[in-house]
């Protein structure tokens, strides 16, 4: 099933009803995490499967080639994305080397990288806060918190990123964790 199609089914536009003839396919909710229904999701193009928040939308499908991954958002200020490297950024092929570049993005230095075994793979974990400015503006709106899990695969890695307002991130962190725990690269 194509990623867009799988997600299209769950909720219609702004929760409005899409008529059945418009291709709605019901995908069952597998569990509820932090009040969010999680569904099973497979991307043939990028080569992974995992649970994703079914009520979230494919925020940037038009900006992200499905072969490079998937990006979801909750309709407000929280995003979860799954991206494949080096397809996403050709210069990054090694998960640890990539993780060790995040000092560039903050004045707080290199975030601490921890290691965790998930599904038999050695997953790198870290988080970071960064300021958010609206485009064309110099006004600091708020701080964003980014949580990362990097899954090494042959010749590259997958990155799962959780982006949320720093003061609100705990509300959706369990959803991100559910995505990470269920993540299975096909390679």
């Amino acid at each position: 099933m194509k990623p867009a199609l799988a997600l299209a089914v769950l909720v219609a536009l702004a929760a409005c009803k899409r008529a059945p003839e418009e291709g709605a396919i019901v995908v069952p909710t597998q569990e509820i995490v932090a009040g969010v229904g999680m569904i099973d999701f497979t991307s043939e193009e990028a080569g992974f499967s995992c649970r994703v928040p079914g009520e979230w939308g494919v925020r940037e499908s038009k900006y992200l080639d499905p072969a490079k991954g998937l990006s979801l958002w909750d309709g407000k200020r929280t995003h979860i994305s799954i991206t494949k490297f080096p397809e996403m950024e050709p210069q990054y092929k090694d998960a640890r080397a990539y993780a060790e570049t995040f000092w560039m993005l903050s004045d707080k230095g290199q975030p601490e990288i921890t290691v965790e075994k998930i599904g038999g793979r050695t997953v790198l974990r870290f988080h970071q806060e960064r300021p958010y400015y609206k485009p064309h503006s110099r006004k600091l709106e708020y701080m964003n918190r980014f949580d990362y899990a990097l899954f090494p695969i042959q010749g590259g890695f997958f990155q799962i990123e959780h982006r949320a307002v720093a003061s609100e991130y705990k509300a959706t962190l369990p959803v991100f964790e559910a995505v990470v725990r269920s993540f299975k690269p096909k390679i």
Binding site: L13, A14, A19, E89, P135
Partner: protein, 509 residues
């Protein structure tokens, strides 16, 4: 008696007193403060070239004179109808059966609701509503808006819009944007200062040369206006001008005096005229404004280049293409300003401000794919009805074409009007499609250039942080900058820089 003679007789005959026509009352002068317009309408009018004076007068962009109430109300209504059309067309894109459902649409809809007809907004936001019903309502409302704009266009307007504008010429736009001699003078000082500042940099010279006319850089007019929403600057294609935000610019001006004088200066520059007069009298303040905003100016000058290079803004100004903010144009402008910043880092690191532009450059250097995704996402969130990919703009244009095709005609005049509308919209769609292809080719050439220079960028960033460390007033800042300098030096592999940073660290310890 022939009609003309009757008319002549009537004109020369004294009319009976009882039938004397009452002289037409002078049209009431518009007072924008009493018109109940919100900030968005205010910003929209300003972007159309209107000048809203502190005393309530609304100066007409064409005549530069105070407008009467009828003309002002018409401009406000046009603006509201245009906003409604943009909101309806965005809604239509969301309603496309082929498009995946997106819960983010709820947030978008809430933002668009203020411009939608209330009945439709309520139905669209009701989770129980059926999409086919919303689609039908949106279609009917779009027909009404189209009829409003169609009704206001004469055959002459249509013929003018159908006439292709030769490449390299601006086509019909708003009148020259300056209202006063002082405003023009300050604008020209800003232009001259921008030419000098940006021209110091090799890549900056490339940016300027793109705007050459008769062998000389021909920068667009630069205006100072209230922008709202924290926006620092923008390119206004209707006036072919760069607009700098008054408040943002004021901060740069205040920064030119010692802190003890800052409050008094700010208080004395509370009006736009006072600020213009100060800039006219203080070249050092003009220079400070440009130095503080040169990177932003390069971004806006890139939009000016796009305007001269491609026919898209030209067609947009004539209503032949939807008034959208193409995300691809933003991508190019953001990349260009970042290439300028990179060049400055290499040439003169001390001149680079550590602000949001710098953070954006670092983000792009770290990974251009992620940077682009975030850029599009953020711009679309900030302007849901206007920020569209070219693909979406093409879909909107296709919708307009379809509406015209479906328009029934009863007279030869209506038939001709329809033919002209089809001609202009078809050309608009072709222009957008051509730009989509051209943009993809441009980015395919530009991206490897950005990505291929990553190691060199690290070296420049290392040198930059070293300069920042030596200039830092506070010890903790110095430590952070030295640490960054060391990491970038290491990442670049440049032995001389590594050694330089090591020595700087030793000296500080």
């Amino acid at each position: 008696m022939k009609p003309l003679i009757i008319l002549a007789v009537m004109l020369v005959m004294p009319a009976p007193a009882a039938a004397a026509p009452t002289p037409a009352a002078p049209a009431a002068r518009a007072d924008w403060r009493r018109a109940g317009i919100d900030e968005r309408v205010k910003a929209g009018l300003i972007s159309l070239g209107w000048r809203l004076e502190d005393d309530g007068r609304a100066l007409d962009p064409k005549t530069k004179a105070p407008a009467d109430k009828t003309a002002f109300d018409k401009a406000v209504l046009d603006l509201r109808q245009d906003a409604r059309r943009a909101a309806l067309e965005s809604l239509n894109l969301m309603l496309d059966p082929k498009r995946p459902a997106d819960p983010g649409d709820r947030a978008r809809l809430e933002m668009l609701a203020q411009d939608l007809p209330p009945g439709l907004a309520a139905v669209a936001l009701d989770p129980k509503s059926d999409l086919s019903k919303i689609r039908a309502m949106a279609g009917a409302e779009l027909d009404k808006v189209a009829a409003y704009f169609d009704g206001g266009r004469t055959m002459a307007d249509r013929r003018a819009a159908a006439q292709p504008v030769p490449a390299g010429t601006p086509g019909p736009r708003a009148e020259p944007p300056y209202y006063t001699v002082l405003e023009r003078s300050v604008g020209e000082r800003l232009q001259a200062s921008a030419r000098a500042e940006i021209g110091r940099d090799p890549f900056g010279r490339t940016v300027l040369s793109r705007l050459d006319a008769a062998g000389k850089p021909d920068l667009p007019p630069i205006l100072i206006e209230d922008q709202g929403g924290g926006v620092v600057a923008r390119y206004d294609y209707r006036r072919r001008a760069v607009v700098l935000d008054r408040e943002g610019l004021l901060a740069s001006v205040i920064g030119t005096v010692p802190p003890r004088r800052a409050s008094a200066l700010r208080a004395s520059l509370s009006t736009r005229d006072a600020l213009l007069a100060y800039l006219e009298a203080h070249p050092e303040a003009v220079e400070a404004v440009v130095k503080e905003n040169d990177v932003v100016l390069v971004h806006e000058l890139t939009h000016a280049w796009q305007d001269r290079r491609d026919p898209v803004f030209r067609e947009m100004a004539r209503g032949n293409i939807p008034d959208v903010q193409p995300l691809e144009y933003e991508e190019e402008a953001y990349k260009t300003k970042n290439l300028y910043l990179r060049s400055k880092l290499k040439r003169d690191p001390a001149s680079v401000r550590m602000n949001d532009d710098f953070a954006d450059y670092v983000m792009m250097t770290h990974g251009i794919g992620s940077w682009r995704r975030k850029l599009f996402d953020d711009i679309e969130t900030a302007a849901p009805a206007r920020a569209l990919t070219l693909k979406s703009a093409i879909a909107v244009e296709a919708g307009r074409l379809q509406r015209v095709r479906a328009r029934s005609v009863a007279t030869g005049e209506e038939q001709r009007a329809k033919a002209l509308d089809l001609l202009t919209l078809t050309r608009g769609a072709r222009r957008l499609a051509e730009l989509e292809t051209a943009h993809a080719n441009r980015m395919a050439a530009l991206d490897p250039e950005i990505q291929g220079a990553t190691t060199a960028s690290y070296k420049d960033l290392g040198s930059y942080y070293l300069v920042q460390a030596s200039a830092a007033a506070r010890a903790p800042d110095r430590m952070v900058f030295l640490e960054k300098a060391a990491r970038y030096a290491e990442a670049s592999g440049d032995k001389a820089l590594i050694e330089e940073v090591r020595k700087a660290k030793e000296a500080k310890e």
